[in-house]
């Protein structure tokens, strides 16, 4: 059942082509049905999960790797699954109109449902290895969606940046997962939970933390990896709504929340998260004030909100973890609404410039209502869901030990700025006089304004009646993150206290700033001055530098001259072996053990030496090649003397072939000339003599090791019994190690094709003309 639910998105995206070609018109609606059905299914599970149970489905996938598809539906994953499918339904629905008539409509829905499936996989997987796979799949589908307008080079660049940052983070996360499993002996998260103590006390705990943090921070756009998120705003607005505010960027938060009962509760965990989250939330909140593009404002306020979540997980008290649960829901509801509204404004007016948009409430009333609700919820006005989460947040930081004041100050500051940003996005475009050039704006279709309004209804409904979500949704989430069974309680009224005072202060100061501070191009331009030291510039500079270094290195080492390759390989081996022998070498030669030297061997060795010398000094190319052939044949004779007829035979054929091929090529070349200077020749001579010497020593040293004859004896004894062959060498080739031979023949074919294409296809661009 659950397998089908998670994979249905992949199934749908695979069916995009056939469905798309048959029902061109109905395709968006067919796809919209999927998240709606899933949402209904997950809603029906609320009852079971809120009673404290968790449902588990197990499917074997690759048991030998410990990789099984184990899906667990508990409080945390249910909240996320509801967000993914719920907001997914709205976004799928919204896009049916937003992208109407777009050439890549089918593709869009394919990517989107692929993303939804991978995201469900991330939140539902109990097996960490499977979680990693789904995690990477979300990065990949996000890459396609950001680069959806593939004719735009900026779009492509943003997609690539996002992919490389999140992909890199994912890779690091894999390292953390592997470390975890090497300590716990399993990839199953629920089994690891029971080994918390051994993991905390292990020496690699620190590394696990680093890896998991980098994985989460890149995905959730934390400082200094945050810059891919504003770039990702190049995607169509429904995508930004879905991936880059409501769901995918929260995968990092999800991971941290999931890991809290396993890895959390230590100073290293809490302090790092508090610092990184704190920096991110303040930094991004300030940044959001300087943007004029509505989507830019929303992007930075999203980063800031993600920072708040990381920060709260870092604070880690009961109240803070409770705030995490509520704020995830709150933020998803109001931020998705704001994004959808921005999309509507963009669609209807063709502008996203906040300093130009005014008085749109006269032309799009329902959108304005949704905008006001979202902005007020984001600001945390009473009776909105944002109020609840803000109260709990302030309470959590205020009561945090000695530095409570400092933390509270940071979060109040962030909240004030976010309030301003929220007002800019949700209120500013709708109030004031409607400028002349916007008078002609048409009323948007209900398909566009119903989704943000529904989200607004959610914000108000849960804000007025927190009991609706208290026990059913938030309690199990809290239990999952904190690992405690303390009963939680959400109230609208906490009495007159400092927290309420702070809350009122936030509203007053924020509103005051909103009326005083007008975003403008000038202010935005001033922030660009600091671009030089921004993490983005630094990282991109690093990437460019790396690229340049790689270029220089490749040109130095891979310069295309065979002689240089051979030289560097031999020099490297010589140095390695020389170092090895420098450490000390034990050669012991027992003359009695050696077999007697026969006259024929003496003759062959003499022949070899003479032909080597001849090959070096000869001025005729043909003579040199023939001399080298003689060396090869002499070698074969040695194989024969020491009873290896198969080897000798093969060597004979190979040598003949080599000499003939050489002749074929060199026959046609002009007369032999000496191109190398004397110095180079001496250098080569020294190197080759040295290399030969070291190899000789190595060979002698090998004799010191007692030889293992078990395997060869087994082969020899069983060749006829098992494989009906008397020639052991051949039996090894075609039977014992037949699979190797099969692969080797394939390699041979690849080599032949390689030679053919290198020479015939003439891929060198400079030679094309």
């Amino acid at each position: 059942m659950m397998l089908l639910i998670v994979l249905s998105g992949f199934l749908f995206s695979a069916l995009t082509r056939p469905i798309g070609s048959i029902f061109k018109q109905a395709l968006p609606w067919v796809f919209t049905a999927l998240p709606v059905l899933l949402f209904i299914y997950f809603c029906s599970q609320i009852g079971v999960v809120s009673s404290g149970d968790s449902l588990t489905w197990t499917y074997k996938w690759v048991p030998s790797l410990g990789l099984d598809l184990v899906f667990e539906l508990n409080g945390l994953s249910l909240l996320f699954a509801l967000l993914i499918t719920g907001i997914g339904s709205l976004v799928f629905f919204y896009s049916t109109y937003y992208l109407k008539g777009h050439a890549y409509m089918d593709r869009f829905y394919g990517y989107l449902s692929m993303f939804m499936a991978s995201m469900l996989g991330v939140v539902l997987s109990d097996n960490l290895l499977a979680l990693f796979i789904f995690w990477e799949l979300t990065s990949i589908s996000s890459f396609f969606l950001i680069g959806f307008n593939n004719e735009d080079p900026k779009s492509r660049k943003s997609a690539l940046t996002a992919l490389s940052i999140t992909g890199l983070g994912g890779l690091v996360l894999l390292g953390g997962i592997i470390l975890l499993s090497s300590i716990g002996g399993t990839y199953s998260f629920s089994e690891l939970l029971s080994q918390r103590n051994s993991i905390l006390s292990s020496s690699s705990y620190c590394w696990i933390l680093v890896f998991v943090f980098i994985g989460s921070f890149t995905k959730s756009a934390q400082f200094p990896f945050h810059f891919w998120l504003p770039g990702a705003m190049k995607a169509p607005t429904p995508v930004s709504t879905y991936l880059h505010s409501a769901t995918m960027v929260k995968a990092g938060i999800f991971l941290l929340a999931k890991m809290t009962p396993l890895l959390g509760g230590t100073p290293a965990w809490n302090h790092t998260l508090m610092i990184v989250g704190g920096i991110t939330m303040v930094y991004a909140a300030i940044h959001s004030l300087f943007r004029v593009d509505l989507k830019g404002i929303l992007a930075y306020s999203t980063i800031s909100a993600l920072g708040i979540l990381v920060f709260l997980i870092g604070v880690g008290t009961e109240k803070a973890l409770l705030a995490v649960g509520i704020f995830i829901l709150t933020h998803a509801l109001y931020k998705a609404a704001l994004f959808l509204i921005t999309g509507i404004i963009d669609y209807q007016t063709g502008s996203r410039d906040v300093s130009q948009l005014k008085g749109l409430q006269h032309v799009m009333k329902p959108v304005a209502i949704a905008g006001f609700i979202a902005a007020l919820s984001s600001a945390g006005f009473p009776l909105f869901l944002g109020f609840l989460s803000k109260e709990i947040m302030y309470e959590a930081t205020f009561k945090y030990a000695e530095i409570g004041i400092l933390l509270t100050a940071a979060i109040v500051l962030t909240k004030i700025f976010l309030l301003v940003a929220g007002f800019w996005a949700g209120i500013s475009p709708f109030t004031g006089e409607l400028p002349e050039n916007l008078k002609a704006t048409k009323k948007p279709s209900p398909i566009l304004w119903v989704p943000p309004l529904l989200l607004g209804v959610g914000s108000v409904l849960f804000g007025v009646f927190p009991a609706l979500i208290e026990q059913s949704l938030i309690q199990p989430v809290f239990a999952n993150i904190s690992g405690l069974d303390t009963s939680i309680y959400l109230a609208l009224w906490h009495g007159f206290n400092t927290v309420l005072l702070l809350s009122i202060l936030t509203l007053i100061i924020g509103t005051a700033i909103y009326f005083q501070w007008k975003p403008s191009e000038g202010k935005f331009a001033r922030t660009l001055r600091f671009e030089k030291i921004s993490p983005q510039t630094l990282l991109e500079g690093f990437a460019v530098g790396f690229h340049t270094f790689a270029g220089v290195w490749t040109r130095a080492v891979q310069n295309g001259y065979l002689r240089n390759y051979v030289l560097s390989i031999l020099a490297f081996l010589t140095v390695i072996m020389g170092y090895r022998f420098y450490e000390g070498v034990s050669i012991y030669l027992d003359w009695n053990q050696l077999s007697e030297i026969t006259p024929s061997e003496v003759i062959v060795v003499t022949l070899m030496v003479i032909s080597i010398i001849f090959a070096i000094v000869s001025t005729s190319r043909t003579a040199s090649i023939v001399a080298l052939g003689v060396v090869g044949f002499a070698n074969c004779l040695f194989f024969l003397f020491y009873s290896a007829p198969d080897l000798a035979m093969t060597q004979f054929s190979i040598d003949t072939l080599t000499v003939l091929l050489f002749m074929l090529v060199l026959f046609k070349l002009p007369k032999n000339k000496i191109f190398s200077s004397k110095r180079i020749r001496i250098r080569d001579a020294v190197l080759s003599v040295l290399f030969g010497l070291l190899i000789a020593i190595l060979t002698l040293e090998v004799f010191e090791e007692p030889s293992v004859t078990d395997i060869s004896k087994y082969y020899a004894d069983n060749a006829y019994l098992l494989a009906k062959g008397r020639n052991v060498v051949n039996v090894i080739l075609v039977d014992y190690r037949g699979m190797d031979t099969l692969v080797e023949t394939t390699v041979l074919i690849i080599a032949a094709i390689g030679v053919f294409s290198l020479i015939k296809l003439n891929l060198n661009p400079s030679k094309e003309q």
Partner: protein, 136 residues
């Protein structure tokens, strides 16, 4: 090469060497030899012929593009490896006919495997040789 002796000799060498290479291939399971060496020898045989009469003549004798020998050989290898599957034995298990064949001796899946190797080696040697010889 214009040498009359070499030319005359190579006319007789080609069939002899080819026969010899097949002989080497067939005896491989019991005595020194096998598909790989056999294939190399066949390659040498054609190479000698092309030295004497030029590449064009050799191509005419072979008729087909030697590149085709590679996939054919590989297919035979894979089939020989897969054959035991049909009788539900593990892959690459040797299957043998009960009675020896005339001239050839015992025939089994290993022999077919070796024939596959032989064809691949002949094919790739000739492809490499022809390509290089073509360009110079």
């Amino acid at each position: 090469m214009k040498s009359l002796i070499f030319r005359t000799a190579s006319i007789y060498l080609l069939p002899l060497l080819l026969l010899f290479s097949i002989f080497i291939l067939l005896r491989g399971h019991y005595l020194p030899g096998g598909g790989f060496v056999g294939g190399l020898m066949a390659g040498v045989a054609f190479l000698i012929h092309s030295f004497a009469f030029g590449l064009k003549e050799t191509r005419n004798i072979i008729k087909i593009n030697p590149g085709f020998l590679m996939p054919i050989g590989l297919t035979i290898c894979v089939l020989a490896a897969l054959a035991p599957w049909i009788v539900s034995l593990p892959l690459m298990t040797g299957l043998w006919f009960e009675e020896p064949f005339k001239f050839v001796g015992m025939v089994g899946s290993a022999l077919f495997f070796d024939i596959g190797v032989y064809l691949v080696v002949v094919g790739s040697t000739l492809i490499i040789m022809f390509t290089i010889a073509d360009t110079v």
